[in-house]
């Protein structure tokens, strides 16, 4: 297991997480470990745990508007702690991110609007992982 790559998905809606995971597991088969978190706080603790175990986390897929810690705050923390980890945001309000002042403080590689198009999502994920 050590040396494997993991993708962490964060959303306050558990069904979104299930759907997302289904898409990613189906796509990557076993190449990436897919972890899900119902809040940013949980996501951070999972990321800590995974990296302790020696896993690399090249990508997080996060919701933007969440109770408690918001997407921007979460991604800033991720960027501080895991500068190599890239981010894709899945949100219902895409325009909120383009105007966000935090844009340059996060390692953002793509924005996917809800409801997402499966192909668009997977393409952006692939791109983020490759380059």
């Amino acid at each position: 297991m050590p040396g494997r790559n993991a993708i962490v998905c964060v959303d306050d809606d558990d069904m979104i997480l299930v759907a997302l995971k289904q898409e990613l597991v189906e796509h990557f088969k076993g190449n990436y470990l897919i972890e899900t978190a119902i809040s940013a706080r949980e996501a951070l603790s999972i990321m800590d745990e995974l990296s302790e175990e020696g896993l690399r986390i090249p990508l997080v897929i996060s919701d933007w508007l969440m109770p408690g810690m918001n997407g921007d705050e979460f991604l800033i923390k991720v960027n501080e702690k895991y500068p190599n980890t890239r981010a894709i945001v899945v949100t219902g309000y895409a325009d909120m991110i383009t105007v966000s002042k935090t844009r340059n403080k996060i390692n953002l590689r793509g924005v996917v609007t809800k409801p997402w198009d499966k192909n668009e999502l997977l393409k952006k994920v692939e791109t983020s992982l490759k380059y």
């Binding site: 297991m1 069904m15 759907a19 289904q22 189906e26 076993g30 972890e35 809800k114």
Partner: protein, 724 residues
């Protein structure tokens, strides 16, 4: 007057005084001098008579011997001696037939004369010389011419000297009187007179100078006091003059600048004496032109007799003034209406002189009155018309009120829709999420069904007994509840540990799927499971089937979620057409609104529901939503979608009380009284209509409810009472 020509009148006061003193002296002197003269006249006369008598006696005795003896020389001696007396002019001694001697004194020299001396004052006497021894025998005659002239002259001289002395004295006194009266009387009086003349000429300054320059030291005290009085009087006059000037200026200003026309009119011939500018302006003539006119010429023909009658009454004293509205003919020919008031300047019983006429231009008023009268007539007609119109309008108005009610209802609906518009973005998201899930799950199901359904169907026949058993076991284990992430991670760790120990190769995909479907195996069981390499197929199969199942479940749940939102929307946007109030569950209503707002609430707002069991309220349900929408929306905006919202529903006697409390910054003191005003808003353009709370109030009034609020920083509560 004749006195003017009298010489006395021409004399100055001093001259007259002198003359008077002189005449007075004479008056005193003349009787005494007459008396003195008479006295000395008598005395002189007596002396003369005595001399004449003694001369006769002396002569009778002295001449007798000489005559008797013809002794001429002795006679001459005696006569010469006698002629030494000045009262004797000539002596003739004669006998019956001849003249013995005749000596006459001419200019004090004695001459032997034969003619009678001449002179008016001569007194001729003849007396006989008797014989001493024979007194009856006359021996001669003595003729004597006494001369009265020296005595008379002496008397006259005395009189003249006396008169001269008295006259001189009187003259000196007169002169003294003259001088003194000039200094003490005439000069001061002249000064006073001159200053009075100056005063008379209104040259008060000169008058004062004159009276001040003149020295009154030598004047009589009366004149001094008169001068002082005059000075005082001049002061008073000056003061009075100043006042007069002031009041004159005032009067003049008032007279000239008066807003009314003022004129002094001769009461007898009706001509203008003085007239002010305003008067002239009103009737269009200059002051000079008017003075040549009488009022008849500038008065409208119809008004002349009226004014004449008034003037007549005034002159006859029947009235003490009159006032009437008349028409003047302006110089340019137009009619000028004026209000004329006349007041006489003579007192009752006095002879009529002139009166003051005051006129005011009332043309504008008259014109206006005329217009008004016409308008009034028109108005009456119009009133009739308008009454009809009004009745019609009333009908229209009633219809308009009906329309307005409809409009108000429409306004409420508009506001409702406006709120809905603001909610749409959130609601869209709220729908997009379940739709996204449905979409994703549907896609997953589609893929599994398309690619793997044959494998799944054929799996029973192709798989070994053992693998199929595992497959069924896996499916059964997953029917349990979804495992949480931490559990799954632990399982995954455990599985990898076992694989490491047992040195078994199995793909990450299989492990991942095993973990994901929530397979709950202990170490022994897992080790047993992975011993058979064919197990991977069973895991993949089970995963596909469970994914199908999960997806179907997700679709169901998401569809329900979306349906709930749609229902809320439908309820909110519903338009009640029955127009009747119904019993309604208020808690359900609030929850409906919270559903609509869920998307905006869920990220930052904690909602505390404190619901008691309450009876249904009587209301229009489709309007009542708006009450909660507005209050909750305001609360959320006030706390910027972060904080605590407490919703309490309780029974309060026969009413239901809903109170909604937020922990936002509170409503500022200075706008509290305005928040229910229509179009009052603190929100940015486009964020609010400003109608929200106004509509809330109207809706509540309609259903006999009420609203009030309390606000302080950190706690704002809106309380709504509803009828059950």
């Amino acid at each position: 007057m004749s006195a003017k020509n009298s010489p006395i009148q021409k004399l100055s006061l001093a001259g007259r005084l002198s003359v008077m003193v002189f005449l007075l002296g004479l008056l005193v002197y003349i009787p005494s001098s007459i008396y003195g003269a008479y006295d000395s006249l008598i005395q002189t006369k007596n002396e003369l008579t005595e001399y004449k008598d003694t001369f006769e006696m002396r002569a009778r005795s002295a001449f007798e011997p000489a005559v008797w003896n013809y002794d001429i020389e002795t006679l001459r001696k005696i006569i010469n001696a006698e002629l030494g007396n000045e009262n004797l002019k000539s002596v003739k001694v004669s006998t019956d037939d001849s003249t013995l001697i005749w000596i006459t004194k001419i200019n004090k020299k004695l001459y032997d004369e034969t003619t009678e001396p001449k002179g008016i004052y001569l007194d001729k006497r003849i007396f006989p010389i008797h014989r001493i021894d024979e007194p009856s025998q006359i021996i001669g005659y003595v003729t004597v011419w006494f001369d009265n002239e020296p005595s008379r002259n002496k008397f006259v001289r005395m009189l003249v000297a006396d008169a001269l002395v008295v006259g001189g004295i009187l003259l000196v006194i007169s002169v003294a009187v003259n001088i003194s009266s000039y200094i003490k009387l005439v000069k001061p009086i002249e000064s006073v007179r001159k200053s009075m003349v100056e005063a008379g000429k209104s040259a008060l300054m000169h008058a004062r100078e004159k009276i001040e320059k003149a020295s009154f030291d030598k004047a009589f005290p009366e004149i001094k006091s008169m001068a002082a009085d005059l000075e005082f009087m001049l002061d008073e006059v000056e003061k009075a003059n100043r006042k007069v000037r002031e009041s004159e200026a005032q009067f003049k200003a008032i007279f000239e600048l008066a807003g009314v026309g003022v004129a002094q009119v001769d009461a007898v011939n009706n001509s203008y004496i003085i007239i002010n500018q305003r008067y002239c302006d009103i009737i269009g003539y200059t002051q000079e032109e008017i003075k040549g006119l009488s009022f008849e010429t500038i008065t409208c023909k119809d008004d002349v007799p009226v004014q004449l009658k008034h003037t007549e009454d005034l002159v006859e004293g029947k009235v003490r003034g009159f006032s009437f509205e008349k028409r003047y003919i302006h110089k340019d020919g137009r009619i000028v209406w004026a209000d004329l008031t006349a007041s006489p300047l003579w007192g009752p019983g006095e002879k009529p002189t002139s009166y003051i006429a005051v006129i005011q231009d009332i043309t504008a008023r008259k014109t206006a009155e005329e217009k008004l009268r016409k308008l009034n007539e028109e108005l009456e007609l119009k009133v009739l018309e308008r009454t009809q119109d009004l009745e019609n309008a009333n009908c229209e108005l009633e219809a308009a009120i009906e329309d307005l009610k409809t409009a108000q209802d429409r306004l409420i609906i508009s506001e409702k829709m406006a709120v809905l518009g603001q909610l749409v973005a959130g609601i869209a998201h709220e729908l997009n999420t379940p739709l996204g899930i449905i979409n994703s799950a549907g896609g997953t199901m589609e893929r599994i069904l398309k690619n793997e359904i044959n494998t799944v169907i054929g799996f029973r026949d192709q798989a070994s007994e053992e693998v199929f058993e595992t497959y069924l076991k896996l499916l059964r284990s997953c029917c349990n509840e979804e495992k949480d992430n931490a559990y799954k991670r632990n399982k995954r760790k455990m599985y990898y540990n076992i694989l490491e120990k047992s040195n078994t190769e199995i793909s990450d995909e299989v492990i991942e799927k095993l973990v994901d479907i929530g397979y709950d195996a202990d170490e022994e069981e897992f080790a047993e499971l992975v011993r058979n390499p064919e197990i991977s197929e069973a895991v993949k199969m089970a995963y596909s089937v469970i994914t199908l199942q999960k997806s179907a479940q997700m679709i169901k749940i998401s569809a329900e979620k979306a349906s709930k939102v749609i229902t809320a929307l439908k309820l909110y946007a519903h338009k009640d057409t029955s127009g009747e109030m119904v019993a309604h569950d208020v808690i359900k209503d609030i929850e409906l609104v919270l559903t609509l707002y869920y998307n905006q609430i869920k990220y930052g707002v904690e909602i505390f529901r404190n619901y008691e069991e309450v009876p249904p309220v009587i209301c229009y349900p489709d309007k009542l939503h708006q009450v909660w929408v507005n209050i909750i929306n305001n609360a959320l905006q006030a706390m910027d979608y972060k904080g605590r919202l407490i919703i309490r529903v309780s029974k309060n006697q026969d009413k239901v009380l809903v109170s909604i409390t937020d922990n936002g910054p509170g409503i500022p003191e200075h706008i509290r009284h305005r928040i229910f005003e229509p179009f009052f808003t603190t929100k940015k353009l486009g964020e609010g209509t400003g109608l929200g709370l106004d509509i809330v109030k109207r809706i509540l009034e309609e259903i006999n409810g009420s609203i009030e609020f309390e606000s302080k920083p950190g706690e704002t509560t809106f309380k709504v009472w509803l009828r059950t």
